[in-house]
Amino acid sequence: MIEVRSMQTQVEEVFHEFGPPATQRVLRGSVAAVLTNPYAGRYHADILPMMEALNPLGLEMTQRLMMALAVRPDEIESYGKGAIVGGAGEIEHAALWHVPGGYALREVLGWKGARAQGAGVSSDGPTGQPGNALAIVPATKKIGGPGCTLDVPLTHINASYVRTHYDAMEVRVAGAPAADEIVFILVMSLGGRVHARIGGLQKNQISKWDGLR
């Protein structure tokens, strides 16, 4: 069912954006897989088999992106995911990526929960961090033609409200998706915006460990 036509990784190193050069560069990357949409062309009531079948791809893509970034999992600070469905598919096909994409990222980064439990986390108590990658993986999706761009949102892996890490990364595969294809995307970043300075929750202020704050 899963036939990957091509895969693309992209890594960006941001040194500044016309402000003071960052003391620590921002490193971020994306991985995109182009695959045949087995449900293209007509309505299929039951599309859940593909969600299950995508699990190995989610893990492969996460590992591939880690390799392209050449960093350890504990260095990743924010993440996101997305999908672009070709014209012969429907937006619901993009939604198949939420579980296999999101949980692949979270598991590789150290999340210990059960997939069925959803994004929420149960803290072990008022003290300490109950694992890593506690926050929901933000996502976006659209129907598009070859070369279509997708602005994939990025938020902090442990607390969605960390304001310095609200960001997005534009991802695009030249020539894809064809009408009967889907592009599935994962993004990860070391660091937030390069000149973040609008206050709000900072990463060193995370205290509730509930995935939000």
């Binding site: 990957v4 091509s6 693309q8 992209q10 890594v11 040194f15 392209a68």
Partner: protein, 194 residues
């Protein structure tokens, strides 16, 4: 370093299936892009040698980035290309000054040998402009299976006073090359052509 780099982007694509046929081994292409400040934005300069020096630095840096991203030995690189997009406060000649006088030699060192001309393209552009970087076999320009192009693009560049410089390196030709002509195992690799 003379180049004032705001951002580096490295992209690798790998084609596993094409037209219903499995590609084994998968064809792979890397593009490394540097977003740099244009030292001559907004003013005419007769002497563009600063840009040529920047080109020399970037030939090495971006060539090595591509080879590393492909995870291959330098000698395993098969084709290459280069390109530049100049933001609107610059001029097309700035792209030429980066690409042509000095960029090739360090790029050839990064891919070992490189007897053939490095094919190139250039344009004026704006944020998110894409440029199609031509690809040709690194040792024999007439290898027909390796004539190709790969798109380079940085979503937030070039700003008006910037230049995007791209170098592409592959470890393979087109996925289903079958239009005849010179093949890679037939080359002599001496004159850069055949």
């Amino acid at each position: 370093m003379k180049a004032r780099i705001r951002k580096l982007v490295v992209q690798v694509d790998e084609t596993r299936w094409e037209m219903g046929r499995e590609i084994k081994p998968a064809t792979r292409r890397a593009v490394a892009m540097a977003v740099i400040e244009n030292p001559f934005a907004g003013c005419y300069s007769e002497d563009l040698s600063d840009l040529s020096d920047i080109g020399e630095e970037l030939g090495a840096l971006l060539g090595e980035k591509c080879v590393n991203a492909l995870g291959i030995a330098p000698a395993a690189a098969e084709s290459y290309g280069k390109a530049a997009i100049v933001g609107e406060a610059g001029e097309l000649e700035h792209a030429a000054a980066i690409l042509h006088p000095k960029l090739g030699a360090p790029l050839r060192r990064a891919v070992e040998k490189g007897a053939a001309l490095v094919p190139s393209s250039k344009k004026m552009g704006t944020l998110g402009s894409a440029i199609d970087v031509p690809l040709g076999h690194k040792d024999a320009a007439f290898v027909r299976s390796h004539f190709d192009a790969v798109e380079a693009r940085v979503s937030d560049a070039p700003r008006p006073r910037e230049i995007v410089v791209a170098v592409a390196v592959t470890d393979s030709g087109r996925p289903l090359a079958r239009v005849g002509g010179l093949r890679k195992h037939e080359i002599k690799g001496e004159d850069g052509l055949r």
